[in-house]
Point group: C2
């Protein structure tokens, strides 16, 4: 099981990779069989190929991710963070207020990511 | 399925009930068969009786809960919030930096609560 510090470092790298527009690093944080549900309630994305497409597109839309509070760990192999996604939507910059929960495998790769944000958490529209 | 506003209102009531020391209101937010894992990785607490004991004790230890960022919804029956628990621990006031994820039934009651905080998210010890 990864340590608290290892999980938090991966989540910080997730933020930084978006801000540095580094899709390769972003995708490298995920296990080959990872599953992403973003937002929770939408059709999950599964496997490295689908995840790569998802982030290659995502990185072109996102201007900046900002942590809203320090990243939280757990007493297990999951961690969570509240952050704000600044992104372009229909030619306007909007802010999506989001919480991601990530679960890790023993190699410290993300196997499951759930992004909690609802239609009303998009601000500036 | 409850609306985004209904889920967020329940989570705000969770915060307020702690701050008002109202265990009855706090417990009333949960379904009879609810399951709590606080923190994630610990033994879950299940059912109204166990949940009542958990919060009756919790309310005597907690001085104040403070939201760290606005409550997030989802595109489903879950919502999440980042907050800080100010509580007494061994005679000192500590701050636990936490994210709760709650899942709701059709009546708007919480059926599942997961609290993400690790040993290193307790500050002031």
């Amino acid at each position: 099981m990864p340590t608290q510090a290892e999980m938090k470092a991966v989540m910080q790298k997730y933020i930084d990779s978006f801000n540095n527009r580094n899709a390769d690093t972003l995708v490298s944080l995920f296990a080959d069989n990872a599953r992403i549900e973003d937002p929770v309630g939408s059709q999950p994305i599964e496997g490295k190929e689908a995840i790569t497409s998802f982030y290659q597109k995502g990185i072109t839309l996102v201007n900046k991710l900002e942590l809203a509070a320090p990243i939280r760990g757990s007493h297990s192999n999951s961690a969570a963070m509240a952050f704000i996604i600044n992104m372009d939507m229909d030619g306007k910059e909007v802010q999506i207020h989001c919480i991601d929960v990530m679960t890790f495998n023993d190699s410290g790769k993300v196997v499951d990511m759930k992004a909690y944000w609802g239609p009303e958490d998009i601000k500036g529209v």
